[in-house]
C-alpha cells in the first residue's frame, strides 16, 4: 500500500466518525483534493466540508475561533509554507487562548503537506516542521511510518487543543514504510523506536526516516546492528530512551533532512554530548549548494559506504 493511500484511508475513517466537525481548506474536495490527501472525505450531517477561499491567515484564525466556541476543525493545507501567512495566529492567537485557559474540549488541527518531492524551486525551501512549531511551542508531528500514522491520526487528529500534523509529498507515491515491530514510543508519541541493536544508534529527524531505515538495513547486512529511532516532533522532547541507547552503543548517527538553520537534531546533540561518552559521532545534515533554491531533485543522499567505514573504524 502506498503512503498516501494509507494516510487518506485513516483520515476518511476519523473524519466520518465525528459530530459537528468542520473540515476546510483550498480545494480539499475538488480537483486533485490536495494530491489525493483529502480525496473521498465525507462527514456527518451536522458537520461541514468547506472548499475555502485563499485566505490562509484568516483560515488559521477561523480554526481557532471555532475551537474557542466549541467546534472542532481540521485545516488541510497544500503546502507548509502557506502556513507562514498564518504565523500571527500560531503565535499570538494560540498564546492568548492558552493563557486564558478556556475550558473547552474542542480541537483544531492544521495538516499541511511538506513540499519535498523535488523540482519545486523556492517553495520547497521550507521543509522543517519542528522549526515552525518551535516559535510558540506548538505540538507538531511529521508522520512517516505506518505506526506513526496510525498512532498520530487516531490520537491527535481530533483531540482537545491545537496541533500541526504534516505529511511528506515525496512519500506520497512510495510504498508505506512498515517496520516489522515498534519497540518503543514515548508517552507523547514523539519518539518511535524500530529496532534494538548494540553497535550504533541511528536517530532520524523531520522526514529523514526513509534514509535512516535504508542505512539501518545496509548496516544489518554487514552485521552492524543498530537501534533506530525516529523523532517526529519539535524538540526538545522526552527522549531519555534515545540517550540510554547512545550510552549503550556509544556510536551515534544523526540524520536531519531539514533545510533550516535551526535543526531539530541540535537539541539532542547538545543533550547527548553532555551525558554520553561517545566513540563515534556522525551528524548528517543537508549540504546546501549555491543552487539549493533551484528546481532540483531535493533528495538527501547518504554515502552508505562512508558511514559504514566510519562506524567500523
Amino acid at each position: 500500500m502506498k503512503y498516501l493511500e494509507f494516510v487518506n484511508s485513516l483520515l476518511k475513517n476519523e473524519v466520518a466518525k465525528q459530530d459537528k466537525l468542520v473540515v476546510f481548506g483550498q480545494n480539499i474536495s475538488a480537483g486533485s483534493c490536495l494530491g489525493g490527501l483529502t480525496r473521498g472525505l465525507s462527514v456527518r450531517n451536522n458537520s461541514k466540508i468547506i472548499n475555502s477561499t485563499n485566505s490562509e491567515n484568516t483560515l488559521c484564525g477561523f480554526g481557532f475561533g471555532m475551537m474557542i466556541n466549541g467546534v472542532s476543525s481540521i485545516f488541510f493545507m497544500k503546502q507548509l509554507d502557506f502556513l507562514l501567512l498564518g504565523i500571527d495566529h500560531l503565535v499570538n492567537t494560540y498564546n492568548i487562548i492558552r493563557n486564558a485557559k478556556q475550558d473547552n474540549s474542542s480541537s483544531f488541527t492544521i495538516m499541511p503537506i511538506i513540499v519535498d518531492n523535488g523540482y519545486q524551486g523556492p517553495q520547497s525551501s521550507f521543509n522543517n516542521l519542528p522549526d515552525m512549531c518551535s516559535i510558540a511551542r506548538i505540538p507538531g508531528f511529521a508522520i512517516t511510518t505506518k505506526w506513526e500514522i496510525e498512532k498520530i491520526i487516531s490520537s491527535e487528529l481530533i483531540s482537545p487543543g491545537f496541533r500541526i500534523i504534516t505529511v511528506s509529498q515525496r512519500l506520497f507515491k512510495e510504498e508505506l514504510l512498515s517496520p516489522e515491530k515498534l519497540y518503543y514510543s514515548n508517552d507523547k508519541n514523539t519518539v518511535f523506536q524500530y529496532s534494538s541493536g548494540h553497535d550504533a544508534t541511528i536517530i532520524c529527524f523531520n522526514f529523514s526516516f526513509p534514509q535512516g531505515w535504508l542505512l539501518h538495513q545496509e548496516l544489518s547486512k554487514n552485521n552492524i546492528n543498530t537501534s533506530i529511532f525516529n523523532v517526529i516532533s519539535a524538540t526538545p522532547t522526552e527522549w531519555n530512551r534515545i540517550i540510554e541507547s547512545v550510552q549503550n552503543t556509544r556510536k551515534l548517527v544523526i540524520i536531519d533532512d531539514s533545510k533550516s538553520n535551526n535543526l531539530a537534531c541540535d537539541a539532542l546533540v547538545t543533550d547527548i554530548c553532555g551525558t554520553c561518552d561517545l566513540k563515534k559521532k556522525i551528524i548528517l545534515k543537508r549540504q546546501l549548494s549555491d543552487g539549493w533554491l533551484n528546481p532540483t531533485s531535493d533528495i538527501m543522499e547518504l554515502d552508505m559506504k562512508h558511514i559504514m567505514n566510519e562506524l567500523t573504524n
Binding site: K20, V22, N46, S47, K48, I50, S52, T53, S55, N57, T58, L59, C60, G61, F62, G63, F64, G65, M66, M67, I68, N69, G70, V71, S73, D88, H89, N92, T93, I96, I97, N99, A100, K101, Q102
Partner: protein
Amino acid sequence: MNSDHRRIIHDVLWLRLAQMIVNEEYKAGKFKIPIHLALGHEAIVVALNHFMQDEDKILLTHRNIAYNLARLGRLKPILDEYLLKSTGLAKGKLGSMNLENLQRGIIYSSSILGNNFSVATGVAMAQKILPQNGVTMVLGGDGSIEEGTFHETLLMLKSLNLGAFVIIENNEWSMSTRIDQRRCPIDLGKLTSSYDIKYVRLEGNDPFLYLEQLKKLRKLALDGIPVCIEVMVTTLGDWIMKTPEIPDGKFVNYHAGPAPTVEMKDWPLLIKTNEEDPIFVLNKYLDQAGLEEMSKEIRQEIDKELTI
C-alpha cells in the same frame, strides 16, 4: 423617562466615571501593564452592552476596557486585574489587552491589530454549527482595516453566510498619526458593498439611536447576513505637549497610558463640550441637574464598591 432609559444614561455616566478612576490610578503610577483607555467611546459601548443577549459573542481589541467594564458592571475586579491581583477578573493573569469574560460573552480579546477579525469568523461558524442563537460581533479600529485580515474576514463571512457584525470604531487616528496623514482614504461603504456586505454608519454619540439601529440589524445577523458597522468616535484625552524644541506645543492624540489632562471631578464629567463627548449628548435626554444628581449617586456606588 422610563427605567430603561435612565439605565442607559446611568451606564454612560458610570462608564465615564469608572474610566476616570482608572485614569487617576494610572497617573499615580499604580499599573505595570499597558492600558488603553476608551474615554469618548461610551455611547457605542453602552449600546452594545444593552443589545447583547445571552448567546451573543463579542471579540475585542487591546482597547477593551470600556466593554469589559460595561459587561461586568463593576469596577473593582477590573482594577484588581490591572493591578495583577488574584482578586482580579482573570485572577491577574490576563492584564488589560487580552482581558476576556466568557460568562458575559467576551470570548476573546487580542492585542494584535486585526487578529480578532479572523478569529471572529470561526466563532461565527461555530454558532452556526452548534447551533447558537446569538450574534458574533468583532471590534476593530480604523487602523485595523488596513490589515489583510480585514479583507479576508469580509470575504469569508460573506462566502460562508456568517451573520456577524464587524464594528469599526473610527477615531481617525492610528496611534500617533492621523489616518489622512498616512494613507489614502478608505470608503468603508464602498469597500463593503464590493463584497455585497451591508454597511451602516453610526455617528453622533447617541446611545439610544445606536441601540435602536443595532436591534434592527439582529435579524440580519441571525439570518446569516454579515454587517459592517462604522462608528465615528473621538478617543478623548488628547493634550498639547510642549518641549524646549516645540515651545508652542504639539498636539498629541490619546492612544494609551494615562490621559494627563483628564481630571477626576464629581461633575461635570465632560471632557469636551460638543457631540464628540457622549456625556454632552446626554443633555438631549436629561437636564444638567438630573445628570449631576445621577453622577453623584454613581460616584457613591463606586466608592462603596471600592471600599468593600
